[in-house]
Amino acid sequence: MAEPAITDEELPVIARFEVRRRSYLAPDGTILRRLPQFASDTSALLSLYRGMVLTRAFDTKAVSLQRTGRLGTYAVSLGQEAVSIGIASAMREEDVLLPSYRDNAALLWRGVKMEETLLYWGGDERGNHWSGPAHDFPFCIPVGSHAPHAAGVGYAFVLRKQPRVAVCLFGEGATSKGDVWEAMNFAGIYKLPVVFVANNNQWAISVPLKLQTASETLAQKAIAAGFIGEQVDGNDVIAMRAAAEEAIVEARAGKGPRFIEAVTYRLGDHTTADDAGRYRPPEEVQAHWKEEPIARLRSYLVSQNAWGKVEEERLAAECQQLIEVAIERYLATSPRPPETIFDHLYAELPAAYAAQRRELKDASHG
């Protein structure tokens, strides 16, 4: 077949696109560029720091509960604390969070109690009937399937002219799902107030990013839906918060959806059911420990004389205390009666299933 007469380069360019990257703190905590305004308020940074530390301490305890058979499968956010915390800290109470199974931190920040999170991962639906925002979505387990919900929520806000934003969190693996694609495309058409956040922790269980997609960045996937995608250093909580703030402010102002790629690394196993040693070298994990978000922000705070050994110890003790109380409450919660599995199936149990409920009640109490 004849080679084409002209080369691509001779064809006129009709559209150009760019992807930018946001980061403020280097791995060692030094400043790369002028910090966003909120960062001048040390207390704001301290609360972000506290959120990340509490998350890591909570995760650690959750894992030991699982190891001792007192909790179900659990996914820690080790190394990715800045993603959930940075995003959650930029949201308003009335905004709607649509989290993935790895976003415990975001929900804790928004008011879900630790004992409630434990109850859910302990295998009890009541954990989702939480003290956090009543309109937030429960953890989404089928990867990416909550993205269309976020678009639906955003559409409801537009229809009711409410200045609210839907924030949807998922992993980089989710970007391979058509669900996310269809949702982003729709959000673009109607300029919906939706912020899509991909926690790019480099791994989908054992599948590395390069086997997940050939695109150099995840941020550029938003180009296909006609809106802005930004890459952010996901180990820099200041960058995460700033990116989230900007995206949420724009979305709230009716300027349409945004996509945030948070580049980070999954320092732990995928979940307690996984053994990452099977598929990735310890050296790789070691290398990434140098970039993790908590030490990074601590270095910065210390360099600002805003933090020290004393504060660190006080915070650690405070976290332990809170977590232990929560665990006690969780362990003290006895299972609900078996027949209650019928009670929230429909607003009102159809007569057709009443007999089954009775049978289960008798079986389990007899």
Partner: protein, 326 residues
């Protein structure tokens, strides 16, 4: 009281629901300016505006997923899937989210959505436009599955579906969209969502069906009457949950039962009804329970589809067989 077709009754119910309740939103492919490929949504966008009558992009998974998100936020979305052959991408959303959101959050969130779609064949349409896979949905806990067989029931059941606090899949029998005509009083009266309709009383045999097949079943009942066989005809209408008592009461009376549906036989919803009878109506049975159904084949293209869809003669033959049984 105007005489309307089944699809016009659907349109009336949608318009009524939208004017009664500002939280009702209609979305789907071509539902707006075009008024739907079957005209079910005609006039709605002009009347309620493009924000409440949304021409969705070509993505069924999205349509069902948007409904879940909107419903969780308190809207009452009514999604349209253009043909049942294109509903499969919605099954993940229906099974994993719509039917579970209430239970998953123990009542904190709920999912009052309706997903409408044309059901069944017989209109000489291309492949995938003649599906009747209702059982796949009727098996799902937390869902409701409804299928009317007349304009009156289309109107009353669709209103009920939209007002219901839980997700409902509403199947519309394509073959009788226009063929079925009836008096419909647009009074906003809904029908119950778990009561079967006894369309004709009889002592000798119970004929159970739903959707478009109800018409062939009624015709069969007429023919049987000519031979002195008095058939009772039940339109199940709501498949999930379904009205077990009406079925059992009828079989108790007649002792004989023929179940008619267009869907493939194996694992079709007719199996559920037959199983119910074998379990709780056995003692009153005077003859085997017979299923007259579509064959366990792919629905053939138009040239042969009439041979696939159960005919009146297949129904009458089955009824005679069970009546002669002893």
């Amino acid at each position: 009281m105007a005489e309307v077709t089944l699809v016009e009754a659907v349109n009336l119910a949608l318009a009524r629901a939208m004017s009664d309740d500002p939280s009702v939103v209609v979305l789907g492919e071509d539902v707006g300016v075009n008024g739907g490929v079957f005209r079910a949504t005609v006039g709605l966008q002009q009347r309620f505006g493009p924000q409440r009558v949304v021409d969705a992009p070509l993505a069924e998974l999205l349509i069902s997923g948007l409904c879940v998100g909107m419903a969780a936020q308190g809207l009452r979305p009514v999604g349209e899937i253009q043909f049942m052959g294109f509903i499969y991408p919605c099954i993940d959303q229906l099974v994993n989210h719509a039917s579970r959101l209430r239970n998953r959050t123990q009542g904190r969130l709920s999912c009052p959505m309706v997903l409408r779609t044309p059901h069944g064949g017989g209109i000489r349409a291309p492949e995938h436009h003649s599906e009747s896979t209702e059982v796949m949905l009727a098996h799902i806990p937390g869902l409701r599955v409804v299928i009317p067989s007349s304009p009156e029931r289309a109107y009353g059941l669709l209103l009920a579906a939209i007002r219901d606090p839980d997700p409902v899949v509403f199947l519309e029998p394509t073959r009788i969209y226009r063929a079925a005509k009836g008096q419909v009083d647009d009074d906003g009266e809904a029908l119950p969502l778990d009561v079967a309709f006894v369309l004709r009383e009889g002592q000798d045999v119970t004929l159970i069906s739903w959707g478009a097949m109800v018409r062939e079943t009624l015709t069969a009942a007429d023919e049987l009457a000519d031979d002195g066989i008095r058939a009772e005809v039940i339109d199940l209408a709501t498949l999930k949950p379904y009205d077990e008592n009406t079925v059992l009461a009828s079989v108790q009376k007649t002792g004989r039962c023929v179940i008619v549906h267009e869907a493939a036989r194996t694992g079709g919803f007719g199996a559920e009804v037959a199983a119910l009878i074998a379990e709780r109506g056995l003692t009153s049975l005077l003859a085997p329970v017979v299923r007259v159904t579509g064959y366990d084949t792919v629905m053939p293209l138009p040239r042969l589809e009439q041979h696939y869809i159960p005919s009146v003669s297949r129904i009458t033959a089955a009824a005679r067989r069970v009546c002669q049984f002893s």
